[in-house]
């Protein structure tokens, strides 16, 4: 209705821009400029993404490589490690981030200050941060963690990297430590976008904080949570840094993951094609994740 009033007042002003910028139709000179704006990106992607990835797919296209992989007991252990680490790291950091975002959403000055300390791990560069973790765990018995255990709690010091499972647990903790703040911030942003009236109305009706969380926060953050969990799954699968720098795969490749096994095959065992095959073997798991993710992103019109 207001549109017709405006149109009556000044029809030309409304008609012209629509003709200039109609969806999908550009003037020829505009089109040329728009293409020119995309050329640098397209060139980079072709030269440094399509070509190498195509090369990797070609290197890993021999089925015999995968038979060889499966017959290597190292690979089987490493595949189990990867699934365990990704499953644990994603579940723990996502659920804790969701809960902590509620804590940080409270409008107190000291909580805002605490948030600045809490995001510190995310801003620390990966290599120094993980090396600090390495030193905390590796030195027996004078690493900081063992020192704290013995001095404060009177416990026996632990050889963290002598057992593959505890070593993998150390890597997982380091990865959660580094990335949980990012997801907490994203969920915090999501919570801020929920209208306050919903909570006020619920409180008037006598809803407890727990019921508010279950019936308002959870349903409204569900899509964001799922999208974040999927992205985090993709990232954690490909992240070599926590394993490479915290446990280093100790003892004897028993805490390695697929992302680092590719390094060992290529650089230490001089078998690059097998390294490529090891890395590509996660694709059957990840491609469905990407497809679901694209559909969800599309459905919710959210772009991180």
């Amino acid at each position: 209705m207001s549109g017709s009033i405006l149109a009556a007042r000044d029809p030309a002003a409304l008609q012209r821009p629509r003709m200039l910028l109609r969806r999908g139709r550009l003037h020829r000179s505009d089109l040329a400029w728009s293409i020119a704006f995309v050329v640098p990106y397209a060139a980079l992607v072709t030269a440094f993404l399509v070509y190498p990835i195509g090369y990797a797919l070609w290197m890993g296209s021999d089925p015999a490589l995968y038979a060889q992989l499966l017959s290597d007991p190292r690979y089987v252990r490493v595949a189990v490690n990867s699934v365990l680490m990704v499953g644990l790291a994603v579940t723990v950091q996502m659920s804790l981030a969701l809960l902590l975002s509620g804590f940080f959403a409270r409008p107190r000055r000291w909580i805002k200050a605490l948030l600045l300390v809490y995001v510190l791990p995310w801003t620390l560069p990966a290599v120094p941060a993980y090396l600090s973790f390495h030193w905390m765990f590796v030195a027996y018995p004078q690493g900081l963690l063992d020192n704290l255990l013995t001095t404060l709690l009177g416990l026996e010091p632990v050889h963290w990297f002598r057992n593959g499972w505890t070593a993998l647990a150390c890597d997982t903790v380091a990865s959660v430590w580094k990335w949980m703040p990012l997801w907490t911030l994203i969920f915090l942003g999501g919570r801020m976008a929920i209208p306050r009236d919903l909570y006020d109305a619920a409180r008037v009706d006598g809803a407890s904080p727990y019921r508010c969380f279950v019936h308002i926060t959870l349903p409204l953050l569900a899509s964001l949570y799922i999208v974040s969990a999927l992205i985090s799954t993709i990232w954690t699968f490909g992240d070599y840094a926590p394993v490479l720098f915290v446990s280093g795969g100790a003892p004897a490749f028993r805490s390695d993951v697929i992302a680092t096994l590719g390094f060992h095959y290529a650089l230490d065992f001089a078998d690059p094609p097998l390294g490529v095959a090891a890395a590509l073997s996660v694709l059957p798991l990840l491609v469905p994740v990407v497809l679901v993710l694209v559909r969800r992103l599309d459905a919710m019109d959210l772009q991180l």
């Binding site: 600045l116 004078q142 694209v294």
Partner: protein, 279 residues
């Protein structure tokens, strides 16, 4: 009573968060302030004889272990700055053309971007060595910069496309009626309005370059081009390496991204709030 319990709970949670976040940072200082840092290192849970010897050794560069550190810092800063600038430029050009000029569907781009991150980087060791030989960019910082920009840009474009939707397209229309060209539209409408998003994307690109070890170590071979991340890894490989030097370098290397992040955190916060939930 319930209020007292809740307050006590908050304080307890705050204490846990503080210890969790700061313990590895504290550990860095603990080791860096130790006198020897060698294998005979016997740290307590606090620095018993704190000394700045490691930091002064870095400053003077007398010890041969740390002689290369300042050139390495120079290389890291050069790569980080170039990645930041080019990610912002290339990302904003592409998202301007795709989002504002509606050159293509942004949905297809989302898929491409996410697939990029699904390929584990260890699959690309040999392909990148091969590709860089073909391009003549082996052991050249520009090769690393090109690769890091390529991997940082898809995410940057996603963020920028989203922000751009918050800017009403009537502004573009008005500028066009006044006779603005596409380039003027980009320079005088898009860039000023997108400044916070561009700052956020630039910070992200810098963090990406600063976090990277993989591409630098694969593509840079000579000492001359080595970065701090590579230098730290060399310490890590060396069983006799002085850990106090290593942690002192780690602390210095951590300062720039932290400083930039906290300087720009207002922009970043606005980005999270806007980008987090829609529909």
């Amino acid at each position: 009573m319930a209020q007292v319990l809740a307050a006590a709970g908050s304080v307890l949670l705050a204490a846990v968060i503080l210890i969790w976040s700061l313990l590895p940072v504290y550990n860095m200082f603990l080791v860096a302030l130790d006198r020897t840092g060698h294998n005979e290192f016997m740290a307590d849970i606090w620095p018993s004889h704190p000394t700045l010897a490691a930091f002064t050794a870095l400053w003077t560069g007398d010890d041969e272990d740390v002689r290369d550190i300042w050139p390495q810092f120079g290389n890291s800063i050069f790569i980080g700055a170039a990645v930041t600038v080019f990610t912002v430029l290339v990302g904003s050009w592409a998202s301007f053309a795709i989002g504002r000029m509606r050159l293509a569907k942004d949905r297809a781009l989302t898929g491409v971007a996410l697939l990029t991150y699904a390929i584990p980087s260890s699959a690309l060791i040999v392909p990148f060595l091969r590709v860089m030989h073909v391009y003549g960019l082996m052991d050249d910082p520009w090769g690393v910069i090109a690769v890091e920009v390529t991997f940082a840009t898809p995410y940057a474009i996603l963020v920028l496309l989203y922000y751009a939707k918050l800017i009403p397209s009537e502004l573009d229309d008005a500028a066009r009626i006044d006779g603005a060209s596409v380039v003027q539209l980009y320079r005088h409408v898009y860039v000023p309005l997108m400044a916070p998003a561009l700052a956020a994307v630039g910070t992200y690109a810098l963090l990406f370059a600063w976090n990277d070890y993989f591409y630098q170590s694969i593509l840079l071979a000579s000492e001359r081009h080595a970065t701090v991340a590579m230098g730290l890894e060399q310490f890590f490989d060396d069983d006799d390496a002085p850990w106090n030097y290593m942690m002192a370098i780690a602390i210095l290397y951590s300062l720039p991204p932290i400083a930039i992040f906290f300087a720009l955190r207002r922009f970043m916060a606005r980005g999270w709030a806007a980008g987090a939930l829609k529909g």
